[in-house]
Subunit: 218 residues, 2 copies
C-alpha cells in the first residue's frame, strides 16, 4: 500500500515536470512567433495553452483523489498540497506565454516588437528558458543549490525588465504610445513568468526545509 502511494506521489512530481516542459515550449514558441510576426505559430501556442490548463486539472484531481483515499499526514500531506500550488504557478506561466503569443496576433501583419527592442526581448526569453529548465531540475532533484541559482537568474530577468522600461521612458522613444504600452505589458509578462518559476522553486525548498516564504512580486 505504502509503495503504491509512493508511486502516486512520484507520478504527481513527474506530471509537474511534464507541465514545466510544456510551459518551456510555450514561452519559446510564443517569443519566436512574436519576433517573427508568425501568426500561425502564435495561434498554435494559444490553442495549446488549453492543454497546459488540462494538465493542471488532471494533476489537481489526482492530488485531491490521493487526499481522499490515503488521508496522508505530515510530509506526504505537505507534498500533495504544495504540488497543487506548483501546478497553479505552472499553469499561470502557460497563460503568460499565451499573452506573448496573443500580442503577435493583435499586431499582425506588423511585428509587435520594434527592432531596437528585439535583442532585449530575445534575452528575456532566453532567461525564461533557463528559469523553466531549472524549475524542472529542482522539481526532479530537490537540489537546493538550484533554487538559489534560480533566484539569481530571476534577478537578471528583473534587470532586463528595468532596461526595457528605461528604453520606453528615456524620452527617445520613437515608436508611438501604442507600442510603448505593448512593450510595457510584454515586459511584465516575462517578469511574472520568472516570478512564478521562482515560486515553484521556493515551494521545493519549503518541502525540503519547511521554510515558509512569500510570493515574489515587487
Amino acid at each position: 500500500m505504502r509503495e503504491v502511494f509512493h508511486d502516486e506521489l512520484q507520478q504527481i512530481t513527474d506530471d509537474l515536470v511534464g507541465m514545466s516542459s510544456s510551459v518551456r515550449v510555450a514561452i519559446q514558441r510564443g517569443t519566436e512567433a512574436l519576433l517573427r510576426g508568425d501568426v500561425k505559430l502564435a495561434e498554435q501556442v494559444i490553442d495549446e495553452d488549453r492543454g497546459i490548463d488540462d494538465l493542471r486539472t488532471i494533476l489537481d484531481a489526482h492530488a485531491v483523489d490521493l487526499l481522499a483515499r490515503q488521508s496522508p499526514v505530515a510530509t506526504d500531506l505537505r507534498t500533495i498540497v504544495t504540488s497543487m500550488r506548483m501546478s497553479a504557478d505552472l499553469e499561470r506561466m502557460g497563460d503568460l506565454a499565451r499573452h506573448v503569443a496573443k500580442l503577435t496576433r493583435l499586431r499582425f501583419p506588423d511585428i509587435a516588437v520594434p527592432e531596437p527592442i528585439q535583442p532585449i526581448v530575445r534575452e528575456m526569453n532566453q532567461i525564461c528558458l533557463r528559469i523553466v529548465d531549472q524549475v524542472g531540475t529542482c522539481l526532479r532533484t530537490q537540489d537546493l543549490d538550484v533554487v538559489e541559482d534560480l533566484e539569481r537568474i530571476d534577478d537578471e530577468l528583473d534587470e532586463l525588465h528595468r532596461r526595457l522600461y528605461e528604453q520606453l521612458v528615456d524620452g527617445h522613444w520613437e515608436h508611438g504610445t501604442e507600442s510603448a504600452v505593448d512593450m510595457a505589458l510584454l515586459g511584465r509578462y516575462y517578469e511574472r513568468f520568472g516570478d512564478h518559476g521562482v515560486s515553484v522553486a521556493r515551494r521545493v525548498r519549503y518541502l525540503v526545509t519547511g521554510e515558509e516564504f512569500q510570493d515574489r512580486d515587487d
Copy 2:
C-alpha cells in the same frame, strides 16, 4: 466531533470573508492615495498588505491542519482544498491593491494619474469595490445569482479597461510615454483584481454545483 469540524469549516469561511474585507480596504485606500498623491496613505496600504499575506498563511495552515486531523472526503475535502485556492486569489487581490499604492509613491510628489483619466480610474475602483462586496456576499451565502451578477460586473470592468486603453493609443495622448505606460499597467492591475474576484465566485459555484471552470484572463 462532527460539530467541531463544522465549526472549523465555518471559521475558514469567516476568515475568507475577513480577507475580502481587508482587500476591499486596500483597493479603496490604494486608489484614494493614488488619486490624491497621498504617499503616507500609500505607504500604509503597502505595509498592510503583509497583514493580508499573513491572513492567507494562517488560513492555509488551518486548512492543512484540518486535512491532517479530520481526513475529510467528498464535499468537506472539496471545500477545504477550494478554500486554499480562494485564499490565493484574495491574497493576489491584495498584491494588486499594493501595486496601485506603489504607483503613488513612484510618482510622488506628482500625481500619477493625468486629470482626464481620473474619472475612469475612479469608476474602475468603484467597480472593484462592488466586485469585492459581492465576493464577500457569495462566500457567506453561496447564492449563485450573486456569482452571475459578479461576472456581469466584471464585464463592465473589462469595458472600462478597454476605454482606458483607447485613450492611451488614440493618437491624442499628451501626457508622455511614461504616463501611458503607468496607466496601461494600472488598468491591468484593476482588471486582474476583478478577474480574481470572479475566480473566487466561480469557486463558490464549483462547491455548490461541482461545475469545473478555467480562470479568467483574456
